[in-house]
């Protein structure tokens, strides 16, 4: 087998390996958002930010994936996903029952808009391309599903003409697979030639197709092998739908809703934070023509899912490490705690400083005298210095909170309950850990959990950080430091260096990159201020902002209708941040009687800005305030907070 110096740098693998890798990476619980009714004749729309998993949702239902899952069903690693696929009815005891036909829209469809043709011609060519490519993808998928050779065995398939459907006469059905393949190939080639022609196309060559009739051929009863339908059902999946032009998307949506072809259609597109719903709502109804739009980010935020992601990346890391000659496990080389002799001294100092601070505050007040006892109990407990330091810091936060509440008559029972409430305690302890790290310069960003958090549920992002850690591991081995773990301090230094490099690349990679940086730095400033408030009101910390959905509409109108052009810049910056994975977005989030669009910093930005890595804390702002940030006007967050 080929030797890899640093297998974490590999972004693609050989074909067979990549399917297995894909399946290993795929979290089976993702399938919980898919139900049996999603395979019926309705359009289902999946949205996510880049790297959010929308393509994976589609890819898992392709013949390659389903066959692999079926073949490996006895393997412990694949049992869960096999079971879920059976529950969905797409795999049976005999094999896959669904033919998934997946087509990417990130091809030369948008170029049609730039040709010197009229609107009708462009539309017909668009349908021609989609029809021919859908049929080609379908034929290829069928052969793969049936274990036949592509394209050699195409003539073993028969395709019938659907009843009561007005198909163009040029389509050779009824025919065999080879004849249909030849027709589709020729159609695709003709359109490609028009696109790639150096001269104006003859009008006669631009006949094209009137509609997306290929969907009516996506009927298992019509496609047969050995006189048997090739599957129980067919699912058509369009990936990267956002790559079509606005006009093309509108045309496709309208056609899909009007045709109501008896085949399930899934659409995966990027979550465009600033896009109108017009494209969907004109003449169509949610529930009838299309199902509820699913935004994957909202799904992944669930805590159990993030643990699953951590397990997945651990698995990926160990598997990649084992591809190198010398290192078999990635995780075992990472120091996972600062609960070591090296840092005990620092923690002991922290305990001293924090307890003196607390006592200094509470000694002077009768109301807290019972808490002095708590301080002493913590100091004398037999937990580790790290744990004691964190507990004391958490206590200090609670004292600050009590102070803020201005409680003159202290109800100790209430306070004790406040302190002991499980929901709050883990957040406060998390904040305390962060505060202790910052104040006493103890590493905070290290270990596989934090590395997983840094990835923002994105495998490529995980690899971009872990590849540098792995460089350190192999360097250490070269220097014969075989058994030495990479210290927490060293891990943090490496991760910060990677984050800095990503930050420096922003102006080079993104249009108006410097403005984007200004915007992000403003979020950093407000997040830092809010997070480090003594009472930690938004523990474990603020790492994002939110605007109301009404203000979001103003931003959209600035783009679409050129209204309020002063907001057009901000609208672009927010869009750029999302499409470049700098911000994580979720929309229609209900809180406080309003609906919000939340924008969280990508976790690597939190590392770069020295912020905690957990989600949850955000602050609302008006778009007029955001305009001021980008214009460089200083913002007094303290004053703003007092005014609210």
């Amino acid at each position: 087998m080929r030797e890899y110096r640093n297998p974490f740098k590999i972004r693609t693998a050989e074909q067979i390996d990549s399917i297995e890798t894909f399946l290993r990476l795929f979290c089976p619980s993702t399938l919980d958002l898919v139900s049996q009714d999603k395979f019926l004749g309705r359009v289902e729309i999946y949205r996510s930010a880049p790297g959010g998993g929308k393509t994976s949702i589609l890819k898992i239902f392709t013949p390659h994936s389903l066959l692999h899952i079926f073949e490996l069903r006895e393997n412990e690693e694949y049992k869960e996903i096999y079971t879920k696929m059976k529950e969905l009815g797409v795999i049976s005891n005999k094999g896959p029952t669904l033919l998934g036909v997946m087509l990417s829209c990130a091809r030369n469809y948008a170029v049609l808009e730039d040709l010197e043709l009229n609107k009708g011609q462009k539309e017909r060519l668009l349908f021609s391309l989609f029809n021919s490519r859908l049929i080609l993808a379908m034929l290829r998928g069928v052969l793969f599903l049936k274990g036949l050779e592509y394209p050699k065995d195409l003539d073993k398939l028969t395709i019938q003409r659907p009843h009561n459907v007005d198909l163009p006469l040029e389509i050779p059905v009824p025919c065999n697979g080879k004849e249909l393949f030849d027709w589709a190939t020729s159609t695709e080639k003709n359109v490609n030639r028009i696109i790639d022609s150096f001269s104006l196309a003859q009008p006669s060559a631009i006949a094209g197709h009137e509609t997306l009739f290929s969907l009516f051929l996506m009927n298992p009863e019509l496609i047969r092998y050995n006189n048997t339908p090739i599957s129980s059902s067919i699912l058509v999946m369009f990936d990267d739908f956002h790559q079509l032009t606005r006009f093309q998307r509108k045309t496709m949506f309208s056609t899909l809703f009007t045709l109501r072809a008896p085949v399930g259609v899934w659409i995966a597109e990027r979550l465009q934070a600033l896009e109108t719903k017009d494209l969907l709502t004109q003449g169509s109804n949610m529930g009838r023509e299309y199902g509820e739009i699913i935004t994957l980010e909202n799904y992944w935020k669930n805590a159990s899912k993030s643990k699953s992601f951590e397990n997945t990346v651990k698995n990926i890391a160990d598997r990649r490490a084992s591809l190198s000659n010398d290192v078999q496990s990635f995780n075992e080389y990472l120091q996972e705690s600062t609960d070591t002799l090296e840092w005990d001294i620092v923690y002991e100092e922290a305990i001293k400083v924090i307890s003196e601070r607390i006592c200094g505050k509470i000694n002077s007040s009768q109301k807290y005298k019972n808490w002095i006892k708590t301080v002493e109990e913590i100091k004398k407990s037999d937990t580790t210095p790290q744990e004691r330091a964190i507990e004391l810091r958490a206590l200090e936060i609670m004292v600050a909170r009590a102070d803020m509440k201005g409680q003159l008559t202290l109800d100790m029972t209430l306070l004790e309950e406040d302190f002991l409430e499980k929901k709050d305690i883990s957040r406060v302890l998390s904040t305390a850990e962060y505060f202790v790290s910052k104040e006493f310069k103890i590493p905070y960003y290290y270990g596989i959990s934090k590395l997983s958090n840094l990835s923002s549920e994105n495998i490529n992002q995980f690899l971009s950080f872990s590849e540098e850690i792995f460089e350190e591991i192999i360097s250490a081995r070269l220097l014969k430091k075989d058994n030495k773990k990479i210290s927490a301090k060293r891990q943090e230094a490496i991760l910060k260096k990677v984050a800095k490099k990503k930050w420096d690349e922003i102006p080079l990679q993104i249009h108006k990159g410097r403005m984007v940086q200004k915007f992000l730095e403003a979020i950093r400033e407000l997040s830092t201020w809010e997070t480090n408030r003594p009472n930690a009101p938004y523990s474990p910390g603020v790492t994002g902002i939110a605007i109301t959905m009404e203000e979001r509409d103003i931003l959209i109108n600035s783009i679409v209708n050129n209204e309020n052009s002063k907001y057009e810049n901000i609208a672009y910056i927010i869009s750029a941040c999302i499409s470049n994975n700098l911000l994580k977005v979720s929309i229609d989030e209900k809180q406080g009687g309003k609906k919000w669009m939340k924008l969280y910093l990508n976790r690597w930005l939190c590392l770069h800005f020295g912020l905690p890595l957990s989600y949850g804390g955000w602050r609302d702002y008006k778009i007029s305030e955001i305009v001021e940030w980008v214009e460089g006007k200083p913002v007094n967050f303290k004053k703003r907070n007092r005014m609210r």
Binding site: R2, Y4, R5, N6, K9, I10, R11, T12, L103, A106, R107, N108, A110, V111, E113, D114, L115, E116, S132, R133, L136, A137, R140, Y150, F181, A184, T185, E188, K189, N192, R193, I195, D196, S197, F198, S199, L200, Q243, T245, R246, Q272, L274, E505, P507, L508, Q509, I510, H511, K512, G513, I559, V560, N562, E568, A571, Y572, S575, A576, S579, N580
Partner: protein, 382 residues
């Protein structure tokens, strides 16, 4: 089976530089009446007027028309920062020509808003000329690419060449086509691209292979021609193509003898760790002779088509993320293969939203060297 011995369009070829550039043009323009259309791009690059000055100051007889291609990049273009340099260049141009230039403004972006816009400049550049009647009154068409982005000069040259070739088949006598470029590696290293496009672009006419569903199983072979400071571009193009085989082309020999080593060091992790390129796949090509690059590319593409014929051949893809001169080799190879040998090659590019000059406070010394290439000549039988 494709033979290695298929005649090459540009064999023999014609290229002159430096003093030989001057000698050639002096003797060519002084010996007879010659009507010239000189096409150049209106940009901030200080090399914009060097070529036209060299040609127009020769006192030959004949029409001397100038076409200036201006880029409409929208109100938010970062290049607007260089408006002073552009104005200086335009003023210089005005002094050099007798008649007002023919202005062709090309829209670089679609009309949608910032968030949804697409790059359309390449298609618009290809649409500047549509038929021979726009060119036939000239004896020589000169396209000066010194101040043109790749997304403009690639489709422009290809379109003009295809119009001339088509016309030649019908009526024999057509204008000659020259390409001029002012090369200065040091200056190139001080101009940095900022704000990469998110999506790659195909040069119009060369996009069929990667977009074909019918041949999606055929292996993709990618030939990136490497240049300095293009890590982001290479990564994005790679992510789009996902090639099965990669043959990087290194400029060597070069005016900087260490550039080949430098590029390998700069891109070491990308090429060897991520892409896992075999060192045997690296092609070394003369930075100053695009015809050599052209020849090497055609040979390599023939080789892969033959080797991969049991897998139905291959889909060749070329990306020139390099200096202009060596990039022309990619253009010539793709054009010759497609139009003369029926082999499709995709040309994949990624543009920048703007440019900045590193250390603008420092003077830019003039180390530029002029090159002239003849792409279609009087004795051309194509």
């Amino acid at each position: 089976m494709i033979s290695f011995e298929e005649p090459l369009r540009w064999d023999p070829y014609f290229i002159r530089c430096g003093k030989e550039f001057e000698t050639f043009w002096n003797s060519y323009l002084l010996k007879k009446n010659t009507n010239i259309l000189y096409i150049l791009g209106g940009g901030f690059d200080p090399r914009m007027c060097i070529g036209i000055y060299s040609i127009f100051q020769i006192k030959g007889s004949g029409i001397r028309d100038c076409m200036l291609i201006c880029y409409d990049e929208g109100s938010s273009s970062p290049s607007k920062e260089h408006f002073m340099s552009l104005d200086i260049n335009k003023a210089k141009l005005k002094l050099l020509i007798e008649r007002e230039p023919i202005i062709r403004k090309i829209q670089m972006w679609s009309s949608e808003s910032d968030a949804n816009r697409r790059r359309v400049g390449s298609q618009k550049a290809a649409d500047i000329f549509k038929q021979i009647s726009e060119l036939e009154k000239y004896d020589d068409i000169i396209i000066d690419i010194s101040s043109m982005p790749k997304g403009v000069y690639f489709p422009l040259i290809i379109k003009v060449l295809s119009i001339l070739d088509r016309s030649h088949k019908e009526q024999n006598k057509t204008p000659n086509l020259h390409v001029i470029v002012s090369e200065d590696a040091e200056l190139d290293s001080r101009i940095r691209e900022i704000g990469l496009d998110e999506n790659v672009n195909y040069i119009p006419g060369f996009s069929e292979e990667l977009n074909s569903e019918a041949t999606s199983e055929v292996p993709k072979v990618w030939f990136p021609i490497l240049g300095e400071g293009k890590l982001g571009q290479l990564k994005r193009i790679y992510d789009h193509i996902l090639p099965d085989e990669i043959c990087p082309i290194l400029p060597s020999p070069s005016s900087n003898p260490r550039i080949g080593d430098k590029l390998l060091i700069d891109y070491r992790r990308l090429i060897f760790d991520e892409w896992r390129v075999d060192t045997k796949n690296i092609i070394y090509s003369n930075e100053k002779n695009p015809f050599e690059t052209y020849r090497q590319l055609i040979q390599a593409i023939y080789h892969y088509r033959n080797a991969l014929s049991p897998l139905s051949g291959c889909k060749p893809v070329i990306s020139a993320v390099s200096s202009k001169l060596i990039s022309l080799g990619a253009l010539l190879a793709a054009y010759d293969l497609k139009l003369n040998k029926g082999i499709n090659v995709d040309l994949v590019n990624i543009e920048a939203q703007g440019y900045e000059i590193i250390k603008p406070e420092e003077d830019i010394p003039d180390n530029s060297q002029l090159f002239t290439l003849l792409l279609k000549g009087e004795d051309d039988d194509s």
